[in-house]
Subunit: 574 residues, 2 copies
């Protein structure tokens, strides 16, 4: 059974030694002294390792159960949820006005990683609530905020996001769910939504569904989509709960992982809904929220990577195995961690998890700075890093979980061991909140509409840091500087392409190469902060062995779309 | 529900147009005219798509059930097994003397891919039997061959391989299972074995277990391991079945995938066993058999890649989705296959599956040529290609199955869709018959004890072919030639390293780079055979976009072991 120890030192190292948060001028960051972050992270670490981690396998094995329209969560989830609420964790970065603790986003991000690492399926009940509350906070009327936010911030009520329908995923323009305007200003919502995480369960008094639907008679396609608040139980004027709304769960999906979360088919049969934000501007409202949610999903990937890594290292240090007869040491004297190839896997897991975490927290800084300053450069930085943090965080989660299974050998394929669960749970993170392909398309299109300015500004920073470190680490800085220049050329080439398919054909390898270079930058800063220490050693591993991947990725990124579309659909299917 | 169409044209293209099998001088290959291979492959294709594929999801959902020592296979497996036996498929490449059809190994390899593609869990009942029968064929006495082979070739009796014990996987020197010599020349076998695929089931009259154990008083460690035949039911002089032997199933493992195969804990409680081959030479006997079994596992990976790819392409061609608003085409008019990034994934799946299949079949040619000629160069070729075919075939299986899930988007995470099963089933292929890390270590150590001769001979061939094609495809040949030279330098560097850990530190990236170059060679030959056709287009995709990965991989391969071992175990665990 996997145990989990929150990587508090690693997180603090990134916050204080790599990103230097207290040295920044962000309001709220001045409080983030090491003593303070340590206190918060220790407390969250305790909760996640003692309460949530022990329920991770239980949730996987037991799953959720639907009986007569009621969804029962796995044994122990309800009590654990009560403890999470009690600790005030659900409102960590929410405004005090609605019962939150008003802490910087970056701290919520670090704590969020611990929650996902210890129990991803459980954490999603709270995570979706946070997402829905953020949307109401950003787009709701004062009355809507007052009605819903206090109970959602405390997780007395939970939330959901209803986008997907059976026939359409990413392309929401094909949506069929209808909203019929009523005389009292409300709407009647009718349609079916699928893949609704935490759609129905037994841990909260009410569930606030945010539902995308088309107002009858509105514009065709994506431009006619609006966002609605649809409570499971109607909320009376005095805040008490009234009648049950016409929303029900059709079934629970059988999934590859995150069995402890109820992924529901939701049926809306003329359910009462309230417009959130402007008519036909549902996508805008959704995107505001999804942008931060994307970082959140990246963090899920990183958390699961950390969990899988801890599990694999513990196994590798315990598993007795002689070294191979070839090098002459006596058989049966070591553990498998003595093997160079097991070390390669473990070092890759550690180096990539560190890189992904540092990139995600740097993105968090951008979000906090944007909120605090409104500075466009910070907005652009956060926007640019978001798809990278999401895709690289979840790609890392998948790769690390897969290596975790591999380190276990045959034991990894046996469910009892727990390694496989990480691999199954993390799989969805590369898909939801926009597949990683969509993230890459967003990066090379929308996030490069500035002609590559945000990208080049990052590269300038990287090269300046590399220059400054040249005397200390000549090999590493040279490798990083060269990689940054190669990436700059690819960036220039991409921004010159007016045919979007040319960009899209190389989008995923470009994003991966950018993450490799960003990761090397973070590792170089880590090495500078820990000269001669283990973080320098890990930086050397990353920069000299993993960073070179950017060469192949950037060749791929600039190969254009012609060959791709030269193959007809029939030729591809043949 | 996934359907499966055997890729007969692709297989024939590799056999006849890329590998030119009929033009070779291998005995038995002169029969392999296109008409003949077509007849065999069509027949196997029919069986696999009509009988085995429909049971693939059933096997996954139902799994195997243990009741009172009896293992029940999923519904329909028994009838399907009867049809497989009826068609004579189980003895395709076995000697006629024992009821086989004596066909070349390469044909069994192609047919084996179809079996794995359509139903991996099912196919393992036959696959393990084939492996056990091969071991008896290679190392058994005439009496043992006569006693066991006819019924094993026909699969009236099935076979198993018993290596692993709870405390030892790869390092068999730690083995505890004991063999006590009896006066009649037999042994009493006592111990517990785990991960025994097809260990017990209801589809055969008898099960012939091959069990590794240590004869009491023999040498310590790996040098004291012998191989034994332990039948489930004793076989009488007249060939009839006698008493039940003291071997029983302890439990069935709950696994990540291949639920339809019974992976058993087997208990030997003084079971009667017969020495197979020489005393204390069990590892030698095991390795003979495992070498071919490794290619077989590579083929499993390729088969599952093909199945996952067909499933994903069918979905992509059916799934309606407007193109992104960015390029201006009307929404809702296309399928997701119009998206450049979906095409990137589909083309990668196709290009890698082709490359892996061609490499595996080229390895099969080496095995057939070795058997026919005994020529050391062929032996070395087959031996060199085997770990690459195994690791690249199964890495490709994992990567393609994962992309198959990704192409499905959210639907891919829902088990009903079938995409996830490929991903779960294929996971074990990178682990069993020696993890892919072990394959890579074998490649850079044992398979390079010739000072790199086998490797360089392959590179000579590749460069000669590239030179010959330079006028036709200048870009592709140049890319391949350069890559081959870079690989040659890395090969020279590795063979010069006397510290095995230096080689092992770079083993996996080296193997992957070698596979990339071999794949490019196969693709170039395919392009030459199909100028201007879809295979040339796919070759361009592979050579210009995937082949460049070798640069990063070979940098990693030559980075040495020092940084890896600089990190202490405690630093890695911190």
């Amino acid at each position: 059974m996997p145990s989990y120890t929150a990587p508090i030192k690693d997180m603090q190292f990134v916050l204080h030694d790599v990103l230097n948060v207290t040295a920044s001028s962000t309001p709220g960051y001045d409080e983030l002294e090491a003593d303070f972050t340590s206190a918060i992270l220790e407390e969250a670490g305790k909760l996640t390792s003692e309460v949530l981690a022990p329920l991770n396998a239980v949730g996987d094995q037991e799953g959720c159960r639907l009986e007569n329209g009621v969804v029962y969560t796995p044994k122990g989830f309800k009590d654990a949820f009560a403890k999470v609420k009690e600790g005030g964790w659900t409102g960590l970065d929410m405004p005090e006005q609605y019962g939150g603790q008003n802490m910087p986003y970056i701290l919520g991000t670090a704590v969020g990683e611990m929650f996902s690492a210890s129990n991803q399926a459980f954490t999603m009940y709270q995570g979706l609530t946070h997402g829905a509350a953020s949307a109401i906070l950003a787009h709701g009327s004062d009355a809507q905020k007052d009605t819903y936010l206090p109970n959602m911030v405390s997780c007395e009520w939970t939330g959901t996001m209803n986008l997907t329908e059976p026939h359409c995923g990413t392309d929401l323009g094909l949506m069929r769910t209808k909203a019929a305007p009523q005389e009292d200003g409300s709407y009647k919502i009718t349609g079916q939504k699928i893949f609704i995480s935490s759609g129905e369960h037994d841990m909260a008094d009410n569930i606030i569904h945010l539902v995308l639907a088309k107002i009858e008679g509105g514009p065709e396609g994506i431009k006619g989509v609006s966002l609605f608040i649809v409570p499971k139980f109607m909320v009376e004027e005095d805040g008490s709960l009234g009648e049950r709304n016409a929303v029900s769960v059709g079934s629970i999906e059988e999934k590859m992982g995150i069995h402890g979360n109820s992924t529901c088919v939701m049926n809306y049969d003329g359910a009462v809904g309230y417009l959130l934000g402007d008519e036909h501007k549902g996508m805008r409202a959704m995107f505001t929220m999804m942008n931060n949610a994307r970082l959140g999903v990246g963090i899920q990937g990183i958390g699961i990577a950390e969990g899988a890594m801890q599990h694999a290292i513990a196994y590798a240090m315990d598993r007795k195995q002689g070294r191979t007869p070839l090098d002459g040491t006596p058989e049966g004297t070591g553990t498998i961690l003595d093997h160079a190839d097991v070390r390669r896997m473990v070092a890759t897991m550690k180096a990539d998890t560190f890189a992904a975490r540092a990139i995600a927290l740097a993105c968090g800084v951008g979000i906090d700075m944007t909120a605090a300053t409104g500075d466009k450069a910070w907005t652009a930085r956060a926007a640019f890093l978001t798809p990278i943090a999401k895709a690289f965080g979840t790609d890392t989660g998948m790769a690390v979980a897969e290596m975790g299974v591999q380190v276990h050998g045959g034991m990894g394929f046996i469910e009892e061991t727990g390694a496989a669960q990480y691999s199954r749970d993390v799989r969805v993170t590369a898909i939801y909140e926009g597949t990683n392909g969509i993230q890459a398309m967003d990066l090379v299109a929308r996030k490069m509409m500035d002609g590559g300015e945000a990208a080049n500004r990052l590269l300038d920073e990287i090269e300046a840091d590399a220059e400054a470190a040249r005397d200390v680490f000549p090999n590493m800085t040279d490798a990083l500087w060269q990689a940054s220049e190669t990436l700059r050329e690819a960036t220039d080439w991409l921004t010159e392409q007016s045919n979007m398919d040319t960009r899209f054909a190389g989008a995923v390898p470009y994003l991966r190469a950018f993450a490799r270079v960003l990761g090397a930058h973070m590792h170089l800063k880590a090495a500078l902060a820990d000269k001669g220490g283990p973080r320098e050693k890990l930086a050397r591993f990353y920069i000299l062995r993993l960073l070179p991947e950017h060469v192949g990725l950037l060749a791929h990124a600039q190969a254009g779309e012609a060959d791709l579309f030269a193959l007809s659909a029939d030729e591809l299917a043949a």
